[in-house]
């Protein structure tokens, strides 16, 4: 059992270091994409709505839009719960925060 705890400890330490490294400026964290101009923003909003309907609509009706900081948490939760892809997560978050 002690061996199991030690192995689990090392695994968690490794994950912890990975987390610190991932928070460095060059990481590709799943955040809201930034549009360069209004045409691109409109295209991303359209694509985000499409991804939203395809992914989220499979299980539940469309919810209201919450403030961006709440939406970021909800979309991260749904990314894990519904195994939504990274790209879909970004576009859905963009659509839900516009």
């Amino acid at each position: 059992m002690r061996l199991a705890i030690i192995i689990a400890g090392w695994a968690l330490a490794l994950l912890s270091v990975m987390g610190v490294a991932a928070d460095s400026p060059r990481n590709n964290a799943p955040t809201t994409p930034v549009a360069q101009n209004s045409a691109q923003a409109e295209a991303m909003r359209f694509e985000g709505e499409k991804r939203f309907r395809a992914n989220c609509g499979r299980c539940h009706a469309a919810p209201q839009k919450f403030p961006p900081r709440m939406m970021a948490t909800i979309v991260r939760h749904m990314r894990v719960r519904a195994t939504i892809t990274d790209e879909d997560t970004r576009l859905v978050l963009f659509y839900m925060t516009q």
Binding site: L15, P63, A72
Partner: protein
């Protein structure tokens, strides 16, 4: 399926390890990541208290049950890659005693999940703690009362454990322009004596393919118990949401030693009807057909697991009216057929989903 019998060897192993030591190791190891994860940027995710509450009246074969429940969910994001999430269930089920008298009954408390998620990269999320067992789709995705189109549980839901304690790897990624692959594999290595945290020692997984163009998802699940009879369970599921209709179809099949069965359900929003449009766009018609086949265990053992004691068929039809976002009224009627006797199933109730920020969200 929750086993209450623990082997002496396993109990001895558990007693030899100090839980406080394990927690200390966990906290020390994760502290650097947590500390570095704290940021104050205005667009960073904020902790949330969300969940659902509901009140339902179930009438099953003439027996009335008043059911009140609250299912709070806590979401705490840490930095860009971490999420702590937990859901508890508080449910009161009140019935009149057989001889008559006032309604009474237990208030059940259960911890559905309490997990730490690490989004390692676009392909992998690592989950530690207590999590919903990824078997089929109902348990993980359709269980909350504000999501499910019919409030009765499917007959085959108890065929796999609802929660597991251990580690899970999962993710979803596109395999080409037309298909996304999702997967989840887990090991449930802890089985505690505490009633609210019980889980089986098991391994398993689920894999699914989603076609965004046609909005079709199909997948398969597998689970192997590493205790008791070391039995296998497997299942298949599908989901379909046609582009041109406000229709949601789901189905699931599962087979295990206690039995096997399937369910198919559909929910159609009447928003395309031209008359009484303001009311019709809020109204949803739902239906489900399901069947359960008894397996290799006795009737009493099956009922102890929450399964029907004999082969059973059931059909159910219902209406949901969405009063506002997150608030819906539900009514349904079902008929159950079995050799134990046929019975009617009535449900009337209301479900509400709430979401509150636990920090400043700005405008």
């Amino acid at each position: 399926m929750k086993s209450s019998v623990k082997s002496p060897a396993r109990r001895s192993m558990r007693e030899s390890a100090s839980p406080w030591a394990a927690c200390s190791v966990l906290i020390l190891c994760l502290l650097p990541a947590f500390l570095s994860a704290q940021t104050s940027s205005s667009d960073k995710p904020v902790p949330i208290l969300t969940g659902s509450a509901g009140y339902f009246t179930f009438v099953t074969a003439g027996q009335t049950q008043l059911n009140a429940q609250v299912n709070p969910v806590i979401l705490v994001p840490l930095g860009d890659h971490w999420l702590v999430e937990s859901r508890a269930e508080f449910q009161g089920a009140f019935q009149r005693p057989p001889g008559g008298g006032p309604f009474g009954g237990p208030v059940n408390k259960n911890l559905d999940y309490a997990q730490l998620d690490y989004i390692a990269n676009p392909y992998l999320t690592v989950t530690l703690g207590r999590f919903l067992t990824p078997f089929g789709i109902f348990n993980e995705r359709l269980y909350p009362i504000w999501i499910r189109s019919l409030q009765q549980d499917p007959l085959i839901l108890p065929l796999s454990a609802e929660s597991s304690d251990g580690m899970m790897l999962r993710g979803g990624f596109p395999v080409n322009a037309a298909a996304n692959l999702s997967y989840a594999v887990y090991v449930s290595a802890v089985s505690t004596d505490h009633n609210n945290l019980q889980s089986d020692r098991s391994v398993g997984g689920r894999m699914g393919i989603f076609l965004p163009g046609s909005r079709v998802e199909v997948g398969a699940s597998w689970q192997k118990l590493l205790q008791d009879g070391r039995t296998n369970a497997f299942g298949f599921y599908s989901a379909w949401q046609p582009q041109r209709l406000p229709l949601n179809m789901h189905s699931e099949y599962a087979r295990s030693s206690p039995g096997s069965g399937y369910w198919v359900d559909g929910a159609y929003r009447l928003s395309q009807l031209q008359f009484w449009h303001r009311a019709m766009r809020r109204l949803e018609v739902a239906g489900r057909a399901e069947q359960f086949f008894s397996g290799q265990i006795g009737s009493n053992a099956a009922q102890a697991l929450g399964l029907p004691g004999v082969n059973t068929r059931e059909g159910e039809f219902g209406l949901n009216y969405f009063l506002r976002d997150g608030l819906k009224a539900a009514v349904s009627y079902g008929r159950q057929f079995s050799s134990d006797g046929n019975s009617n199933l009535w449900t009337v109730g209301i479900a509400y989903r709430f979401a509150l920020p636990l920090g400043r969200v700005g405008q």
